[in-house]
Amino acid sequence: MLRLISSSSKSKPYSSLSYSISIHSPSNNNNSDNNPKFFSSGFSINSAITAPLSQNRNGFPKFPAKIADFDQYGSRFRRVQDLVGGTRNFSSESSLCRESINYDVVIVGAGPAGLSAAIKLKQTCKENDVDLSVCVVEKGAEVGAHVLSGNVFEPRALDELIPKWKEEEAPIHVPVSSDKFWLLSKTRAFSLPSPFNNKGNYVISLSQLVRWLGHKAEELGVEIYPGFAASEILYDTSDKVIGIATNDMGVAKDGSKKDNFQPGVELKGKVTLFAEGCRGSLSEKIISKFNLREKGQGQHQTYALGIKEVWEVSEDKHEAGSVLHTIGWPLNHKTYGGSFLYHMKDRQVAIGFVVALNYHNPFLNPYEEFQKFKHHPAIKPLLEGGTALEYGARTLNEGGYQSIPYPVFPGGAIIGCSAGFLNVPKIKGSHTAMKSGMLAAESVFRTLHEGSPLEAFWENLRNSWIWKELYNARNYRPAFEYGLYPGLALSGLEHYIMRGKSPWTLKHGKPDHEATDEAQMCKPIDYPKPDGIVSFDMPTSLYRSNTNHDHDQPAHLRLTDPKIPELVNLPIYAGPESRYCPARVYEYTSDESGQLKLQINAQNCLHCKACDIKDPKQNIKWTVPEGGGGPGYTVM
């Protein structure tokens, strides 16, 4: 809508009419992937208050439009579309002149799963003396820029993929030297027996490892294109996925084309693999379109938000390979979560806090909980005298075995955390993500080379060690639905006695977005002010994430109904998005009349997807911004 308005004043009447058709998403592609400027964003809300309504020469109202009149314009467009008839693939005018490039396999996401799949494909091709063209698109500015993880790495999948990783100088140097598990109270730390067995595992920076995997993939001939965001799924007439299209670049905030406008590019693949990580934007669309949750293990996915910092600490406090996990304070017994503290090399320490997103109190602020945690007398001394280097956040899957969707759809498959193979009690998902990519690659090769059905991937998954591992781990996280202590007790039972052979499979509780209680039933939490030495305010932390987006682009966080924040989120839930977002994207500010309105600072976004998951009415949709934007993680 917005783009139409600003360009029609420049273009001829006919072309503006065709422009309006192509802008509006086709009806069969609900929630169409490149549904741009049709939805309002924080920007339009603010300006809507101040700018008067005016009309351009075609009689359509000029941007900015008042929010209250939003529906009126919407219906006008639908009439126009009905006149001429919407067509499936036109979701933007530029799609009329989009270049199309063909590959055998297109992989969305250069993370552990995507790169492992690419590497395995090329390896299998070499073994069989054939070649397949493999293309990986990555929305981060470089490979590894959007990768964040604890990370205590289990090299099981890497041993299978690249057995000589040590000789090939993989950035895996620090073996785990100690494993501690503490239950924290406000002032004390009680040592509990460690439920982990990290022998043979390493403390690494996953971002660095993924960078290395990227080099290995390129050596094998994989084409990797960082800085390009896959924003649209391409279908053929039989609803089979034939590839993806990247974002248009150079679109201004109001939807008009800037000087350096470039239309997106269509990357068509005989097989498309989605490896976007947890709550991948395109993967979620695929899952809902093809009903993959019901066809899979059946349960909805549950999530947690992990916030992490990397510090450089003084030499005498650093113990390479030391691994610590804590539970308890500052979270209460109804909220699942805890912290991790891993000592890497070069005096660097990874410290982070994970909060399950099915928390009940809308006043909970995961970022502030993390800052509070760092003040614990057992933790603070380590950080004093040190420097905070990087900051970031990302959601992670906690659904495990019960939530695995059926990963195959016509035209491709979903791999890695986009499907959800994280082992919650182990708190490890990188090895299973990599293995899922490798299994998919094997199936894809056979599909392309021999014509066997891609559905074999599901069978291979169920026969692999991923399945056994996740099956044995399935009852730990759901046990915590009953609270911290029952959860610990049940986990103890599961770990020491049943050892994964329990005859029952516990179910998850409500979906995360439904678990939030109304604000009137909960107590606001008073968080201490940051001291600037060990804890910091949000802007300071955000600065360390190197996150950046071109400010002059449409906001990538779309509200399906722009009225809901002020009608539901704020009065009933006290605006939880202003608290759970680890990047302060959402802020309620007063306008001239004293009313609180939602302001979306899309530029701050860390691409963590917490808002997409936790918004009570699922009104916030995270869509992908222009490629190259987002955080710039290097040692996360």
């Binding site: 490039i101 500015a141 294109y225 000087d259 350096n260 470039q262 290097t634």
Partner: protein, 251 residues
């Protein structure tokens, strides 16, 4: 007419840099590197001149370690025809770069040399001026508008100076350094990035060009700026004057 554009691989502008613990410089390992923004603007201007038909070829040049090739590939993806990489590991100062570029200009004989006004890592703002000096060519620095007149072999350059805008007429061949407002660089599109992989990058060393890379400068120490001290709330004007006189020594 050939245009030569010199580009530099620097720490990406969005990265938060920090000083190395040994204070010898800024931490550049594990840090995102990209093309200097002013060099992007320079390359964009060269491409626009070529697209308007006033130039036949755009050659991108970079001096530095092996990874400069990545930056040159980005330049090729934006539209440069050829690239030259002069390989040298180790610190390079503007005068050495200027000498190397002079040698390349003598070999390639371009009609115009365009550079960014300064690199965002050292902010020297010297290379363009030094090349012009070595070549004895006219220079138009801080260009915010460039208009080429092919027939008369003249470039009209609007410069951003402290007092406002200054317009210069330069006889070609000339050196132009670009400022921020000159243009908005284009995105390298995916198809172009793919095509750029097959475009040629010539490799040279400073020895090939008979340039000795040595410097009379040595960076002794790099420090972070001192932490801002807290302010002091004063109770009277007399106290203020006293502090300004005796502590800050400004009056």
């Amino acid at each position: 007419m050939k245009i030569m554009v010199a580009i530099k691989r620097v720490v990406d502008y969005a990265v938060k840099i920090r000083v190395k613990p040994d204070k010898s410089g800024v931490e550049t390992s594990n840090v995102k590197m990209s093309m200097n923004p002013f060099c992007e603007i320079a390359l964009e201007e060269a491409l626009r001149i070529k697209e308007s038909g006033r130039a036949s070829e755009v050659v991108a040049v970079s001096v530095g370690p092996t990874q400069c090739v990545d930056t040159l590939r980005t330049g090729l993806a934006m539209g440069a025809d050829r690239a030259i990489h002069v390989e040298h590991t180790g610190t390079l100062y503007p005068l050495s770069i200027a000498k190397i570029l002079k040698a390349l200009v003598d070999a390639e004989k371009p009609g115009l040399v365009i550079l960014g006004k300064q690199a965002i890592d050292d902010d020297c703002n010297q290379t363009g001026q030094m090349i012009a000096g070595l070549l004895k060519w006219p220079q138009g620095t801080f260009a915010s508008k460039v208009v080429l007149d092919e027939e008369n072999k003249v470039a009209t350059v609007e410069r951003e100076v402290d007092g406002g805008l200054e317009t210069l007429c330069l006889d070609l061949p000339a050196v132009i350094t670009t400022d921020l407002r000159l243009n908005q660089p284009r995105y390298a599109t995916l198809p172009n990035i793919m095509k750029a992989k097959s475009k040629p990058i010539k490799k040279l060393t400073p020895q090939d060009l008979n340039v000795e890379v040595k410097s009379d400068l040595e960076v002794v120490q790099v420090m972070e700026p001192p932490k801002r001290k807290a302010g002091v709330v004063l109770s009277s004007v007399d106290e203020l004057i006293d502090k300004l006189k005796n502590e800050a020594h400004v009056i």
